[in-house]
Symmetry: C2
Subunit: 303 residues, 2 copies
């Protein structure tokens, strides 16, 4: 099965207590696609970039077998830019600058050959654009969606229309509380799942993630990392690993969903070890399997 | 094996968004002993109360087969009192009032029949008193210790002397960061374990707990409760269930430590369902086993 990934491509200027990394390749769809590329080889991206997005950047995606035919390049424009600074504890950050650039007029066009995509992954973009993408897909089997508080607060009705068509929704804990209006995550999950997505993942950053399905709740731990250099993209990397695993195994059972959450967590734990997407470029399958095993060991109770 | 529990007995005035509960029986050793009483029947308390601690209160402890001969009753004094108010999210609280009363002059005296205790549980009290207790014990096999930021910041040297004699240290995440001086919990754990306790548990409130031993890290999830009425005593209740399980099985392997963390978590999840110790009074072993099983299910990955 092929995965269609729609979201942002960006250049980030990142500052953390450990250093800074200017002009770093980023964007939600970049992290999602790179992460998923370790699980499946049929990944198609739809997005928009400017002339500053060079062959070298495309080459990096191609080296991971990611199809970029759906990425529009606006020759007289500049790629979306984000600048942020992380605090000492790495859990909070300030956005220093956002330049939408070519992303301001992004009108997602899904190329004909992608319209039969079975798995559609809607990265964190305007929910109106998310719907535009879905309208172009013939018969999606699985729609995964991410969002952020900006859209929850700014376009709640449009987001709710999107959610009616979403199978798996990935959100973080503070966003879940805002969207549901309830501080309790169990109640939040019930309220949000009633909006459409039968499968809900609530990410809790350094505290792991919760998976809610009809069959109950799964609590995935976070990997207790000694060194976190840059949390940028960790959530998207999680989504990519999660979707990649589900695509690879081709079945959505509770067991595979749980494993998917751990694979997503494993990929996110790699992501934060270096700046930007750096760590996601040169992974090998064995170290991913090892990290997954470490996640299993973290919560193992053997009789 | 018998457990010696030393700590505070108190009356708490508790306010939460769900209501208030004045004159509620509390104190670290009360929660610890009540929780442990579901796992072992040989629990001895050492502490101090005033004349307002009536036969009814002693009766409640006796009904759980807890031996109270080591509790000094000061007839012309009043029991330690604490008043606090929890915020909307239940994760933060303000202390409204603290009256040490008879606790101000507490000089723990371990009765002769308790001095051969093999398991000593030092609740959150002045580290100088914790050492005084240890000096009275002949040959403890396992010393468990809790503390709080008040002592970490106020008596760091005394606390470090205590820790040299502690086998299992239980602390929350913010306290671990203060004590170690490092925001990263993995690094914090290494620093704290070098102070003495080979086994360290870092509690993360609604995010579960981490167990650090020579053999690695165990991450226990928190039970995703829909209704949390009162978090007071949850940490002490955790400690009681943890110690109770270890005492019951009589062996300290990594497996039993992990199970102990889940039993402690299960007991804490009951504690917060009602005000004060109310929920800890009428539990039965079957519902504890059921809750423990729910914790196992929360992180289960079956092949």
């Amino acid at each position: 099965m092929s995965i269609l990934v729609v979201g942002s491509l960006a250049f980030d200027d990142i500052e953390t207590p450990f250093g800074s990394s200017p002009d770093t390749l980023g964007g939600s769809s970049t992290y999602i696609a790179l992460s998923a590329s370790y699980f499946t080889s049929d990944i198609n991206m739809v997005g928009v970039v400017g002339s500053d997005f060079t062959d070298e950047h495309f080459g990096l995606l191609h080296s991971r077998n990611i199809n970029t035919n759906g990425i529009q390049k606006v020759e007289d424009g500049k790629t979306f830019r984000w600048a942020g600074r992380y605090h000492y504890d790495m859990n909070t950050r300030d956005t220093l600058d956002t330049q939408l650039n070519v992303f301001a007029d992004f009108d997602p066009h899904v190329p004909a050959e992608y319209r039969s995509s079975e798995i559609v992954c809607l990265g964190n973009i305007d929910p109106e654009l998310q719907i535009k993408v879905l309208d172009q897909i013939t018969a999606p089997k699985m729609v995964i969606c991410d969002t952020m508080n900006f859209w929850i607060e700014g376009k709640p009705e449009e987001l709710k229309k999107t959610l009616e068509r979403v199978d798996i929704f990935i959100i973080n804990d503070s966003e879940a509380r805002i969207l549901s209006g309830d501080p309790n995550l169990v109640k939040s999950a019930r309220i949000i799942r009633a909006m459409g997505p039968k499968i809900l993942i609530i990410k809790k950053g350094e505290h792991g993630a919760l998976l809610f399905t009809d069959n109950g709740i799964f609590a995935a731990p976070a990997y207790p990392l000694e060194s976190i250099y840059d949390p940028t993209g960790a959530g998207d990397t999680f989504a990519g690993g999660f979707i990649g695993h589900l695509t690879r195994c081709g079945t959505i059972t509770d067991l595979e969903l749980r494993k998917g959450v751990l694979y997503g967590s494993a990929m996110a734990s790699f992501c934060v070890e270096k700046f930007g997407t750096e760590r996601l470029n040169g992974l090998d399958l064995l170290e991913i399997e090892d990290r997954y095993q470490s996640f299993l060991d973290l919560s193992r109770i053997d009789g």
